[in-house]
Symmetry: C3
Subunit: 259 residues, 3 copies
Amino acid sequence: MSVAEQRETFEAIIDAQVLQQTIDTLQAVVQEAIFTLDEDGIRAAAVDPGNVAMTRVDLDAAAFESYWADGGRIGVNLTRLDDIVSKANADDIIHLELDEETRKLNIRFRNVDVSMALIDPDAIRKEPDLPNLDDKWHADLHVEAAMLSEAVDIADLISDHVRFRSVADEGVLHVEAQGDTDDSDVTVEGDDLLPGSEIGEDCNSLLSLGYFTDLFKPVPNDAEVRLRHGTEHPVLFEYEFADGHGFAEGFQAPRVEAR
Amino acid sequence: MSVAEQRETFEAIIDAQVLQQTIDTLQAVVQEAIFTLDEDGIRAAAVDPGNVAMTRVDLDAAAFESYWADGGRIGVNLTRLDDIVSKANADDIIHLELDEETRKLNIRFRNVDVSMALIDPDAIRKEPDLPNLDDKWHADLHVEAAMLSEAVDIADLISDHVRFRSVADEGVLHVEAQGDTDDSDVTVEGDDLLPGSEIGEDCNSLLSLGYFTDLFKPVPNDAEVRLRHGTEHPVLFEYEFADGHGFAEGFQAPRVEAR
Amino acid sequence: MSVAEQRETFEAIIDAQVLQQTIDTLQAVVQEAIFTLDEDGIRAAAVDPGNVAMTRVDLDAAAFESYWADGGRIGVNLTRLDDIVSKANADDIIHLELDEETRKLNIRFRNVDVSMALIDPDAIRKEPDLPNLDDKWHADLHVEAAMLSEAVDIADLISDHVRFRSVADEGVLHVEAQGDTDDSDVTVEGDDLLPGSEIGEDCNSLLSLGYFTDLFKPVPNDAEVRLRHGTEHPVLFEYEFADGHGFAEGFQAPRVEAR
């Protein structure tokens, strides 16, 4: 087999807005990320240096106007890619192509043509595997992103931490904060808990707000977010974009509480 | 008489916008203020530490959707209250309630519930009594706030001080500034002096702009401002808000001029 | 001849927007400028202290609502004039008048009247004469300002320099940048090269972006810009404003390239 045949190839066409959402999601946590270019789409994940917050994006091949890849991995400087992609208009179509010889990513839209150096994927910190916590997440909540975002904004006025507290009996999520002198409680219940929501038993998770606001900032206001949590286990939220062909999730370890 | 019977009580419902206007007015001068909760409404006043600028707000009970109080006094951290109230939308209804036991103010709107610690009113600097200068204010001017605001903006380009100079003969208010090399003069006259305006004799007041711009900043652009001044006496301006049920005033000592 | 008869006079009425464009153009390069007040209009030019970038504005008498001058020169603090003129609304009419005795410029609009001290023109650095390079500029390109501005924005992501490279054969302008690892190429061709464009022979100019972005920033997005360049000679761009009665140009020396 010749060297040429071993080379990875990647060529895709995508809406600027979908690519931007992907970049924003990863940038919430890191500045460099590994993109895995599978036949059926792109996957990327990143964890912050403190191993507290993790984010993951999947873009199905169907999220692209056209997509072709044969399974390589590329290391991407997200800040640089963001600089370039943010110059495109929301309705621009972006053409991406991996130059196999130079290991550069070619980015084209309108009359713009940029060649961006890639990073050796082996030089980028790997994300740890996510534990499967399906049996620990007793609260499964579906909420409009804007509502969750506002709830967390209120907590941010009061404290550096936010508590998600789901009460099974009452079918309510409390987004709480406790400061030195002040307290806040934003309740999400009734029709604000969208269909599919289920609180199997009481759950209680305390999170550092610094990480959570970063992690949640890229979520589009009109996204339906599925938030799952338990008690003293990590919190997971996920949502779809790109007409359901894009999938993003955020995962944050809880703050351990003194007893 | 039991302790319980002596406790102060306060519960009120108010438009977010009206409460915000009240907070903004006081914040022009101080960060903490005493609210007096009378049966017929709320009163608050504040003077800056240098005793140069003073502001006062009265909110009649009719400015509220519902109001009940029995004459207490509460000390309020305005920055903190502003943080919370500014999260409400302009058309939100805010529910305020004094928790007599914890001495906290409960603030509720939509699905938000915040409990904010109050400050001991005795720990907050009292405002001095305002002298009655009705016989010193020979110029009584009614002007749209936006016009006065623009006039003062021009003065601010030229100098650290603004002079209000009312000329009785000509029926004109000059808003003047004199810099080291440049001068400005914005004239308010004719239809721009609204009905009720009267200049009994020439008046001339020099004010520090730093204080005046802070004091005037919260005035809504479309408010009709009544500005009264004399010569080397404090300047008073006042306006109504909340459909006439709210009343705000600013009062500033003049800069003494060398002769 | 009496002293009074020797005095320079100047009185003019102009749209705030046209005056603002004139100020912005000069401010791209300097903070003080000499305005020459000829019978047929105002001319001003300025060069940056490093002699790299130069700008020039001509305002025909026809650009004014009314104009009268007899050939004087005034030194203007652009920052100060900008502060004042930016307080006018875009559709305000500004009245300018030179006070011959005090050497101040009187600026009036609406009810505002400002008297601004002028600077001795002899205290302001003269601009050097522009060399005539008509026979060196082999590329004569007409492009919409917004397109050129976007092209330069992309270059700014990649490097501190931008290269204008016109290819005669292909009838294309490349706006290129070369960074340590990344490259960009924005092409302007076809209908984007507006009528009048002509590339006589290949041209290649490398410019410092810091200067060029400052110089180009005041150009209105919808202006048609005429850009002329050669190889290792200064680049000139020019455009009209004020319905063709205003004329602005920017001129920048190339960065000398190592061979």
